[in-house]
Amino acid sequence: MSRCQDDLLELTADVLVIGGGLAGNWAAAAARRAGASVVLADKGYCGTSGVTATAGPGHWWIPPDPADLRETAIAARRKSGFGLNDAGWMARTLAKTWESLPTLETYKFSKDEKGATQYRALRGPEYMRALRQQSENLGVEILDHCPGLELLQRADGTIGGAQGIRRQAGGRWRVNCGAVILATGGTSFLSRLLGSHTNTGDGYLMAAEAGADFSGMEFTNYYTVAAKGSTMTRSMSYVFATYYDEDGEVIPIPAGLDTSRPLAAALLKGRVYCDLHKTPEDIRAKVPIISPNFLLPFHRWGIDPYRQRFEVTLHGEGTIRGIGGLRITGDNCETSVPGLYAAGDAATRELVAGAISGGGNINSAWALSSGQWAGEGAARFASSVRSRAPGRPIGQAGLQPDSAHTIDLRGALAIVQGEMLAYDRNIFRRGDRLLRTTRLLDDLWKVVSAHALGEGEGILRTRETAAMLATARWSAASALARDESRGMHRREDKPETDPRFAGSIVSGGLDAVWVNSASSQKMELAS
């Protein structure tokens, strides 16, 4: 049912999916297949938005038999995940991924030389085009350029919809529904990470306003190399990279280790250069049809990366190939708020990835799987809720100030980026600096939440800035609470792994941020 009144497009559905990336489209498909009517709203265009569209996810892909293949992989991943991940969730994710990809009829899967169909790795733009097609074929109603701004809550506390703006058509939208799935992705705090600029953590903020909490937010320090001045964070070709300092000396990169720490250390000293001369000739010939975007910047700048040196940088990924997100409380990716579900990078990936990044295989398998579980769960929840009456809008920061004053949003973002992306603060972490960060961000939050008011076109920017600031606060508070080093969270002042922190760090709160770990009671961090 749809009604268009004044400048408001009002729709009714069983399930609303916010975010139309990898997870959102799998969620919408599963909810439709479970019999629910579904609206999917994306901030940009469903098919090109989100970090899948510009990349090319290889899924975690292990055959079911012989059975020990998966068992071995899960055991290895438990070890590399430092015990924060769960064997049951990993097994479910592997099984769901294996059974789902071959059903994606709208993607033209490639065959290898032997004629075997290759399901595991899909090219981003083609994958997202196929997922949009699948959603359309199943009768999902897609709203493009319709960012969600805030959730609608029913009197009993359950979530019954959301509303936002129509960026291109003008006016506003509202969906009244039985259940909502947040598939808004992670956030890189608007670093230059490829394809990440619609991912500003909006879903985290909306969920927190409903009282949802988070897990694994300390793991926000994954970085990817790119040619300086470009967004091209496609990492495959860099496996053959040689890096040089300003004097032309080769920067040693210890084998097997994450390259970003030695690179970040070098970047803190001066400029870093790279060439790809070690790339075998046959691979050079194939790069354009493996990753068609990788060479674009070089070509356009007139650089031959296989022969010439070019300057490089590291782009921070925040919670994108970091792993924190909304805490999952049940098998259908329920959040801690009834009627609200989370999928993909909006959810924590700690359950499957543990304390290291899930990029490269686990994240996309998780997005596909969690999306479908959330879709099924939300459809079931929606069928148990009769009413589709509009709930109460619960957005706060940027929408309901105590008193409206002009806020320097650019300045606020610069502070957030300084704390969350700078190598010296975020890669080489230290307790005293993290404490300073939490205080600085708390002070900034007080100003933004009390006074920012987004009006007209500025409403989205205002909410986005508030969302990134809130995300930064949970991240910093969690990193401070994890008073040890584990996986990608490395504390210069606490280099050892401490068995007292073998569990997850849960965080939440807006006016007062709190963290809760196995070894500490709920600690109020805000002053």
């Binding site: 394809g195 084998a255 194939k286 700048w301």
Partner: protein
């Protein structure tokens, strides 16, 4: 950032306006207007979806770049991305088949080379 829409190639179909994730472009009376260039996330998606290869996205993501329409039209760079993707009319061209699945082999090769001490 998106640098130019080459006027004599553009048919005003507005596909780029629709697909741009960050809403950089406005439909105009004629060709689309690059209305919010600084919002461009340098993702090249508009190039992929432009059926007439009329768009050039400069790789520079930190600041806008000025390019000359004629030089760009003659550079051979327009449409390169769409072709390599095997998009639209290139879909059945054997030179541009989707070999993305080979990514894993590339990582394995690099690992083998490192173990053999060749890197």
């Amino acid at each position: 950032m998106i640098a130019i829409i080459v006027e004599d190639r553009c048919t005003n179909c507005n596909a780029c306006v629709v697909v741009c994730p960050t809403n950089v472009l406005d439909a105009g009376p004629g060709i689309p207007v690059i209305a919010r260039q600084l919002d461009c996330q340098t993702c090249f998606m508009c190039e992929l979806y432009c059926p007439h290869d009329a768009i050039y996205v400069a790789p520079d993501c930190d600041h806008p770049v000025t390019v000359d329409a004629q030089a760009i039209a003659g550079s051979g760079l327009l449409g390169e991305f769409r072709r390599l993707h095997g998009w639209d009319e290139w879909a059945d061209d054997p030179r541009f088949t989707n070999e993305h699945w080979q990514m894993e082999q590339v990582f394995l090769r690099a690992r083998a080379m490192a173990q053999a001490g060749n890197m």
